[in-house]
Symmetry: C2
Subunit: 326 residues, 2 copies
């Protein structure tokens, strides 16, 4: 929940800047302009110009398309579910939120939330995916979040994949810290140094197709860990098969490694904390959750989906996150 | 005080990784190896092999060489001093620390510390520069730090320039946050968004010679702001004149802008804080100061200078930072 906003607003800011011009992200740019120029994404159930365009009609019938990145996220989720077992309660998302569509037929999404069972360290596991046709292609956003509750100060698991076209994707993959790292070097050591997380980041950033990705939100940058994988992977024109290879190869490997590290060192771990320390952490967690919903979903879902649909989805995510509307 | 350690240990880690091999940083690598293979840097006052080598003899007589980066730092410091005026007390550094040398004649350094006057927001302004000959060249490190006291929560000013050869330099330029940014979006807004600091970062990262620089210390990465300029600028073989242009041009401009923003929005600013908040900030500040001395000076100065010299210098910096030996 830390990424899509930028892609809906503008092409990703990357560094070094000299490479910026080589990055194409047409989906996001067009999606941003579309709702402002005309409201084709809202409340058009039939007969719209868009709905009659080839591809859009198909999207209104078809489920979300199969993508290598989505498959990768699903495999990760399976693995997490298998390991967490009974610590996850069954899904409690109403049917109309489990899968949802835009009336105009150009956007489809799914959301699944499983709460942690009482006594476990798990707060919730959230999987979501969004697919939205835009004039020149589609934008696909897939998220996998496993958040812990206040019985532990261990980091949350977070993965977001934002694909603007078949040859480029933004990857946000992190164990999201729950403490002020500049005050807690022991926390850095325990969760980030001893686990050698930085190696995973290095491996991905070494890919010739990878460029650093900077969120436009300074808050998002501040919330991530110093080992976060924040990259834009661009395989260039005709690079669809390279993209698939990277996704199924190096990226899938890094994501699995991160999840495994998280499962081994964070998921089972309760923490002794002084009451003040726990209170601080809860306050911090709430801020990170609220802000990420604010900069991300509440400003963008309404651009993709009819207002009633996006409200229902956002309400369900707020419920999972345990934050009220501001 | 957030940078040199990496350069003394290994070449800078840069991203994207594919570019790594193009970055040369011979000075640092050699400097790292030198003290382990043989102790030529320590306690040789005369007659050593090194001292008889051309250049080294010159260094033992000569002051630190004039470098574009050093000139740039000095201009910045003048500007800060002019603006801060009587808020800075006269320099209180003993002569043997104001300028110091290695007995072997291959290293020379200077340190100046001016405390803030009573009632001002300034804690101290510190300027330091180190020059150390290594077999194939020299390493030059220049720092300018202006730290605020606990009457304000405004960020500190920090600049470090680490030049391993005439054509490459690492730049660390930041307004160092004093609050946990993930809990304080209003702090991000006030000091980092409203001041449009990110534009300065972007301008530097857009330089074709710039590559992102990642400190090997996760703590250092965590202590920096999300708009920190952390780059390695490499002008390639024979690029000495380009380096000078960049230093005197874009880099000097960005550094001046940052300093101006800091002078305008941070230096005069006292903050109302609840007592708990202030205590937290003081604790955090102490940690950042201690850790930066630990990962940086205490492990590296003794490699460049005789033990008695480095102890004196470190003691003086500890005094400025207000932190005791761990």
């Amino acid at each position: 929940m830390l990424g899509p906003e930028h892609h809906l607003r503008s092409p990703p800011a990357t560094t070094p800047g000299s490479l910026r011009s080589s990055i194409s992200f047409p989906g996001s740019r067009r999606l941003f302009r579309l709702p402002r120029a005309a409201p084709p994404l809202r409340g058009k159930t039939s007969g719209s110009v868009l709905a009659s365009a080839p591809g859009v009609a198909a999207a209104s019938r078809a489920p979300e398309p199969e993508l290598a990145h989505r498959e990768m996220a699903r495999e990760l989720a399976y693995h997490a579910e298998a390991r967490l077992g009974a610590r996850l309660l069954p899904s409690a998302v109403p049917a109309e939120v489990a899968e949802f569509r835009n009336g105009a037929g150009n956007a489809v999404g799914s959301l699944d939330v499983r709460r942690g069972s009482p006594g476990s360290t798990i707060d919730f596991m959230l999987q979501s995916s969004l697919h939205c046709k835009v004039p020149n292609g589609a934008i696909d956003i897939t998220s996998l979040l496993i958040f812990l509750n206040a019985s532990t100060d261990a980091p949350h698991f977070l993965m977001e994949l934002i694909q603007g076209n078949p040859t480029s994707i933004v990857v946000i993959l992190d164990l999201l810290p729950r403490k002020d790292l500049a005050l807690h070097p022991e926390y850095i050591e325990k969760y980030y140094e001893n686990t050698q997380l930085d190696r995973q980041r290095e491996k991905i950033e070494e890919l010739p197709q990878a460029r650093p990705y900077r969120s436009q939100s300074l808050f998002v940058r501040s919330a991530c860990s110093p080992t976060a994988i924040l990259v834009s992977i661009d395989c260039g024109q005709g690079g669809g098969s390279i993209m698939d290879e990277v996704l199924r190869g190096q990226l899938a490997t890094a994501a699995k490694e991160l999840l495994q590290i998280w499962l081994d060192t964070c998921a089972d771990h309760t923490s002794k904390m002084e009451e003040g320390e726990r209170e601080y952490m809860i306050k911090r967690d709430q801020m990170v959750r609220s802000k990420s919903i604010e900069v991300d979903l509440t400003s963008n879902l309404p651009r993709m989906f009819d207002p009633d649909v996006s409200s229902r989805v956002i309400a369900e995510i707020r419920k999972a996150f345990g934050v009220q509307e501001a």
